[in-house]
């Protein structure tokens, strides 16, 4: 994945992580989202949950400190924070389906202005990769998405309507791309913050639906 403009992958994760509120239970999906557990967000008490039943993990393990039986949703070896616990898969999805997750952060191929998103199946593909995405999307209190702003062909991923089979409808509350931080508004996207080096016009040209811009638009701190 090329990252020629705006934020890099860790920065996209960092921006989302700074939204996490004190006391939240946060599920991080495979790809960029799991990088949120590396972000320093100060004194806030955040509990990171992974589909495989790890509740309360911390940053990725450094060289030599890996436990090969301790992984996040992306299969990376992580560390445990004090107060961590482990449950089995059915109990882990009971946490999810039971509505106990304050926010799930996932990657996606597309997000629509009505808050739909698509992340499990490409056009023409037989089958796909659902993982825990549909459980999380349907049941978490909030869904945040991190994705590259455009495809390799420079086509928008923030769209009026998803073209791919959806994972869930109307659930996305916040989107972090390498171009900025967005909220689906129903008829378009609100640009809440802009990445360094980007212009509103560039973003408007590569975003589906109506682009509105937050008053006193801030640049994302990196």
């Amino acid at each position: 994945m090329s990252e020629t403009k705006g934020l890099n992958r860790q920065q996209m994760a960092d921006r989302i992580a700074r939204e996490f509120q004190d006391g939240w239970l946060v599920n991080l999906g495979v790809g960029i989202p799991v990088m949120c557990s590396n972000t320093d967000i100060g004194e806030r008490d955040i509990v990171y949950h992974s589909e495989n039943g790890v509740i309360g993990y911390g940053p990725v393990a450094g060289p030599g400190e890996e436990d090969l039986n301790l992984v996040n949703a992306g299969g990376q070896n992580v560390t445990l924070k004090p107060g961590a616990s482990i449950v089995h898969h059915a109990d882990s999805f009971a946490v999810i389906r039971g509505g106990h997750i304050d926010v799930t952060v996932m990657g996606a191929y597309e997000v629509s202005m009505t808050g739909d998103f698509a992340n499990w199946k490409l056009t023409g593909q037989k089958g796909g990769g659902i993982g825990g995405a549909m459980d999380l999307a349907a049941c978490a209190k909030r869904v945040f998405i991190i994705l590259e702003h455009v495809t390799r062909r420079n086509e928008p991923r923030l769209l009026s309507a998803c073209t791919l089979p959806i994972t869930a409808r109307g659930v996305v509350k916040l989107v972090s791309t390498n171009y900025g931080l967005f909220e689906p508004t129903g008829d378009g996207f609100l640009l809440r913050e802009i990445a360094p080096g980007l212009t509103v016009d560039e973003i408007r040209a590569t975003t589906g639906g109506k682009l509105t811009v937050a008053d006193g638009l801030k640049t994302i701190q990196v």
């Binding site: 239970l25 004194e43 008490d45 955040i46 509990v47 990171y48 949950h49 790890v54 509740i55 309360g56 445990l80 924070k81 004090p82 107060g83 961590a84 616990s85 482990i86 449950v87 059915a90 999805f93 009971a94 946490v95 999810i96 389906r97 039971g98 509505g99 106990h100 049941c139």
Partner: protein, 246 residues
């Protein structure tokens, strides 16, 4: 995570904000795992029109410890949901029975496994499920059933709680819990089904991280308030049941 402690000072404080009309689950099966101290505090707090959920209404054993039946006797209860509205021994009469028969307190009688599963379902986001239990009995009369692979099953709905009152052996400050032996029973399930879980803890509460992640019975994400049980006589502890002559 887990920088702050969920421990609060006393049982009175732990139940102070419980409003009238709440649905409250009480862990425990026979003597083990019953939140005696929280029940006592709720008797003093006085919330009314409560719906209580637990295995029994209590009162069949001696010595009698705080139980759901006492809340009924205290005029605080609109309804109980439980697996026993009568004693297991027909010659015993429960304190609850008088209030039930007079209509002062309503009851919903639920098979014990269905009761546990309905709360497990509530915590797990399963709104309804099918079970073979009680099919063909008076309890199934007029209710929805379904044939699946040639067998008849009854449809049961999730049972959500506003509060769970539970008792554990060990807790860390984040609320991770361990239960001793048969103390576990309904307690972990009720914790998942409740908006707010309040725990009375027997051993001194330890710092987060003192319980190994592999040894936690109830994850702290399900726990909201911890209260240390004081030594007797201030705190209530299980006592040896008096065996009755037959």
């Amino acid at each position: 995570m887990a920088q702050r402690s969920k421990q609060i000072d006393g049982f009175r404080e732990a139940v102070a904000d419980i409003p009238d009309g709440s649905v409250i689950g009480f862990g425990g099966f026979a003597m083990p795992g019953v939140p005696f101290n929280l029940i006592k505090a709720l008797l003093e707090q006085g919330a009314k029109r409560l719906t209580l959920v637990g295995n029994t209404t209590g009162g069949a054993q001696q010595p009698r410890m705080p139980d759901m039946g006492m809340l009924v006797e205290n005029g605080q209860v609109a309804k109980v949901i439980c697996a026993f509205t009568a004693a297991t021994r027909p010659t015993d009469v429960l304190p609850f029975t008088k209030y039930y028969e007079s209509g002062e307190c309503d009851a919903e009688l639920v098979p014990q496994g269905t009761l546990a599963e309905r709360m497990r379902a509530a915590g797990a986001g399963v709104p309804a499920f099918y079970t073979p239990t009680a099919v063909g009995t008076e309890l199934a009369a007029g209710r929805e059933t379904r044939m699946i692979d040639g067998r008849e099953y009854l449809l049961e709905y999730a049972l959500k709680l506003d509060y769970a009152f539970i008792r554990a052996r060990t807790a860390d400050t984040f609320g991770n819990l361990r239960f001793h032996r048969a103390q576990r029973n309904f307690n972990p399930i009720m914790a998942t089904a409740a908006r707010c879980t309040i725990v009375e803890v027997e051993d001194p509460i330890v710092p987060a991280g003192a319980i190994d992640a592999d040894d936690v019975h109830t994850p702290g994400i399900y726990v909201h308030r911890l209260v240390q049980v004081p030594a007797e006589p201030e705190g209530l502890w299980p006592t040896k049941r008096q065996e009755r002559r037959r």
